[in-house]
Subunit: 505 residues, 2 copies
């Protein structure tokens, strides 16, 4: 044939993308349903924007502000316009609000669960396609909206099965840092934008690089392990000292047990008030945090659940006020087998300028995003989201030209809410048992001519068999054996299957 070997395409996923199978998907669906129910109970409505947006509408709001359009999959459509696969759900929301604002209630509250794409270098556990889960309130500057987000985030994690003390929502505000930056002559004017971006990114790396790494990035720059040089923010020595002092104040790690006479949030507010007392923007941040503190305290979200912490930076350039991050506090091993705290599973904050890109009018907004795969990993470690697979019954087919009996059995089983399939391949009985085994089926049903003559069916308990087979020479030996089999009247099939399946639960 002309269509020979070398002309065949290779079957492989695109680099950085992966297939996902039933087990992971079931656990993820269970998790997303819980998140959705929580968001909806708070009055947020579902919205789905398209996967593609015009590139100019997405803007340049990726974390890496130095390479604005790097990280985005973009191409030209038929009309020669640049379009991009969405890289988050916030930029499309801003576009949606700008496009529809005259029809929307104000504030507008929506959630969106969807796949986003990053044209980044893939790595172990780092994919170019992943799911985010966002909730946003657009059109109000009230700190009540920020406080609500923080409380909803905590409620969501608890609805997912995390216990109090296993998570904490850390809260800060950009205005605080703005106050400090003002103090070192880096106020928020266009000519400082580049330097401020570099400062933000440097401070955001405290957890990963430690104080020395951050200090290097605030100064001339830092050489990483591979020898690559990261350009620094080029601050002067006294500017660096002031920022590092600020980090030390705000980086203070709070106690982990709740003491009603020593509210960590109030303590932090007092410390911060001193450090930004000469800055109007800093003091505005303090007032907003105080309003948030008052509301979450009134709803009994204590400082084990919600803490103030100035080392929370959130790398994104678009935040303008409150920022927050959900951190999981249990230990895990990292890829270098070192025990570390699990850390962030998502976060967000206040961004007042995204809609203004389109409309020219400031539209205050606050929201947060959950990274689904990281949170799922965490829940699975906590055994909080291992979806129980519904057990499967495989009905074998003795004579492949007479599958009617097998099909009748699966119909009866399904009518009783039991997951069941008749074998539709062309293999012999031995192959069918191997198939049932590979499928992870709980039971296999056999109705050969002998059974049929007696009005009976044989049930092979594959789960029990798997136990028994541990003593057999090989797995294949067992599959052909008669252990863990029961004979029942055909009319008793459904009742017996139900009994066997419920036994295991």
């Amino acid at each position: 044939m002309a269509d020979g070997k070398q002309s065949r395409p290779k079957a492989r996923t695109v680099r950085g993308f992966r297939d996902r199978a039933a087990g992971e998907l079931a656990a993820e669906r269970q998790m997303l349903d819980t998140i959705r129910r929580t968001y909806e109970s708070y009055g947020f409505d579902a919205l789905e924007t398209p996967f593609l947006e015009y590139t100019d509408a997405l803007g340049k709001f990726l974390p890496d502000v130095d390479r604005p359009n790097a990280g985005v999959f973009s191409f030209r459509d038929d009309d020669e316009q640049w379009v991009s696969l969405r890289y988050d759900l916030t930029a499309p929301l801003a576009r949606y609000v700008a496009e529809n604002q005259q029809f929307l209630p104000r504030p507008f509250r929506r959630y969106q669960i969807g796949t986003v794409f990053r044209n980044d270098k893939p790595g172990p556990g780092r994919f170019r396609e992943f799911i985010q889960c966002d909730a946003d309130t657009v059109g109000t500057a009230s700190p009540a909206a920020d406080a609500e987000m923080v409380m909803m985030f905590a409620d969501t994690l608890e609805a997912l099965g995390l216990k109090r003390g296993e998570y904490v929502i850390k809260v800060s505000t950009r205005k605080l840092l703005d106050g400090v930056l003002e103090g070192i002559h880096l106020s928020d004017v266009p000519e400082n934008a580049h330097k401020r971006g570099a400062v933000l990114r440097a401070l955001d790396k405290l957890d990963r690089l430690g104080p020395d790494g951050v200090r290097a990035l605030l100064g001339k720059g830092r050489k990483d392990e591979s020898g690559d040089m990261t350009q620094g923010a080029e601050l002067e020595a006294d500017q660096i000292t002031k920022l590092m002092t600020f980090i030390n104040v705000v980086g203070e790690r709070p106690h982990s047990k709740f003491d009603p006479n020593d509210n960590q949030r109030i303590r932090m507010i007092e410390a911060w008030r001193t450090s930004v007392r000469n800055s109007p923007i800093g003091m505005q941040g303090i007032e907003e945090l105080a309003a948030i503190e008052s509301l979450v305290t009134s709803q009994k979200y204590d400082d084990v659940r919600v803490q103030f912490d100035g080392s929370i930076i959130r790398g994104l350039g678009y935040y303008t006020g409150t920022i927050f991050e959900a951190q999981l506090k249990f230990d895990v091993k990292n890829d270098k087998d070192k025990v570390v705290v699990f850390g962030s599973v998502g976060g967000g904050g206040r961004y007042d300028d995204l809609v203004a890109r389109f409309t020219g009018q400031k539209t205050p907004a606050v929201g947060f995003s959950i990274g689904v795969s990281r949170l799922l990993t965490a829940l699975q470690m906590r055994k909080a989201a291992v979806a129980e697979a519904k057990p499967l019954v495989v009905v074998t087919v003795f004579d492949k030209n007479d599958a009617a009996h097998a099909f009748a059995m699966v119909r009866e089983l399904r009518a009783a809410q039991i997951r069941a399939e008749a074998y539709v391949g062309t293999g012999k009985l031995g192959d069918q048992f191997k198939y049932a085994d590979k499928r992870g089926a709980a039971l296999a049903i056999i109705e050969g001519p002998d059974e049929q003559a007696q009005g009976k069916v044989k049930i092979k308990d594959l789960a029990l068999g798997a136990e028994l087979s541990k003593s057999a020479e090989t797995r294949a030996d067992w599959i052909g054996s008669h252990q863990a089999e029961t004979m029942v009247a055909r009319s008793e099939l459904v009742a017996k299957v139900r009994g066997l399946l419920s036994r295991g639960h």
Copy 2:
């Protein structure tokens, strides 16, 4: 500012794409959950492949075989390789099976629900991004697998609330048409591929263009209303006559009431047997249809639910055997306000060569795809999938610096499974009522200083108010009025709200 009006991007969706809001999404989710449950009850497992695939792995299996890569969104990735947004879920499945076959049970049964993309000219109701819902059995040539698909399709439609007689699964086989094509010297060899493709597409248009249109497309071609010429298959007169005769035989419209003494499927098999009796491939098709008929009859799927119909063609080039289509039989108005039968909501068939593109080995497979938006439209017409929105309670905030009372109320309501939100905007009470109204809230709660002093709260019944307001001068008049208000003790809030909400259901 330099960032003036003309530099702002325009807020708009990409042409052919659209945003989707809560109402549609809730109905769709309900529908997809039912489909998922049905597929899973049959033993199909979930699978999710990536949105992007290497273009060479997707192949050229779009309906329009004359423009192989037209219709696909493609671009080069960082490695200079061509990648494409998936245009269906079948080509990625073939890639997946080829890549993982040594690990998969055989047959391999999976379902996938996902968004696919077509770079086609958009039109009214015709989008470039839409959801498909596929189930496939890969690795068996047994007609039992085909019969199971047909029955599962029928079960799925009934699980969605369609009544018997409102839908029919029409079944045919490509082998029958192959038999007829053999008879007119167009057997399945490479040099006939182009002409056979044109014949398939022409026959597939019987419903839309009628016999004269099809005859034109089988011959020299056809001029459409806009004056555009579609190139024909250039068959000779006697070839066209034989095909049109075949269409007349197989196009015979069956009766719609079940008559156990006159099984439509057996009648069709007998008619077809005569028309392809000299063709081995045709006779093979007959035998396979007979096996399918026997199995579906044994499971009591009568000919009101499953019919044989040779006018079913399915445009795709990759089908090699059984083909089937689900048609909804109720009347709707088309975009020209003409009453037509609703028609197809999906279909599928047997394709034995898709995996072989990668492996060189034939891998028999059968599956089908449901077009989600068309089916949802149909179900909504049948009132079978109008998801009941959970009623919303909006708790107003009298003093925006003291939202704690409102937040406490919504927490209590949510704990009682009632969807509730506190107003987090900055508007006055009147704005808050307008907000609640725009949100479609059922109730609004007010606790002003007077109510608070009495330990009471006021409940405004917005649904009842909407009724009453019909007699008011303007909607705005009513919103400020005191109609449809109740005062209750604060401690009775949850019970009273529950009572008012349940009244409406």
